[in-house]
Assembly symmetry: C2
Homo-oligomer: 138 residues x 2
Amino acid sequence: MFVKFTKNQQNILEFLKQLKGEITAQDLHMNLKEKDFKIGLATVYRTLKYLHLQGIIQERITPNGESLYELIKDSHHHHLNCVNCGRSSLLKEDFCPINKQLTNWCASQNFKLYYHTLEFFGLCEHCQNEVNKANLSN
Amino acid sequence: MFVKFTKNQQNILEFLKQLKGEITAQDLHMNLKEKDFKIGLATVYRTLKYLHLQGIIQERITPNGESLYELIKDSHHHHLNCVNCGRSSLLKEDFCPINKQLTNWCASQNFKLYYHTLEFFGLCEHCQNEVNKANLSN
DNA sequence: ATAAGTGCAAAGTCTTTGCAGATGT
DNA sequence: ACATCTGCAAAGACTTTGCACTTAT
């Protein structure tokens, strides 16, 4: 996978394997530093980009513009994303409308499918009132 | 919808109505300037944010990190996104796996659903060879 | 008259890049 | 030995914000 397999790469991959859920590049960097691994933020970004390119991890960008990464697994989640507060809540695990027919269709396009994201956007319960008060001076 | 309905707001909304497809904030700004509308980039960003908050337009963030906006319509597209070159290609128009059952489920969560995005990530035909040569020095 | 909207420039945030030095095979 | 990988600091890109001025109602 990697051309060399350095300590940094091992540490990142190991961390992602242990991780339940998603993490930002910056949080991942902090976590590794806290474990006394010496690693630069740029290396974290470079490694995540490479892992993404290789189809090992997936990326999801939140309404706040944060990139979240996690290993690609068989089981995955989709989210309800509030366009006001930016919070995401998980959809029940077994919900996923992607069927084999579609997967096959991607293959027929010579597109090598790594993963998909399905995200719902709107207002969470709390924000529905807030938004009525919004204007362009906010 | 807007508290006031200024020339800027009218111009942006009119432009989005004419537009087929998606556009970035910066391109939208350029287009309006070319039509000799005097408007600041910040105003474009503020207006798009407000329209998004109100559920008038939707946002999609590409693998390159660009935010693309368009009016929410009944018909919509999903995309195949190449994680290498970042190009997106449209899925056939009639494909959408989201059913009424799911829509109802969102409602039952007191989540006010505006729109959804469903995106597929992987390698386009052209990039499948390229990626084999990739390493962390790139 | 007043709150809402605006333009500009500055600031903020996340991410990428150039380069010299370190590392794995 | 050599290309790959790394850290650091600088650069880059996009977006947001503060503030004084303008505009719509």
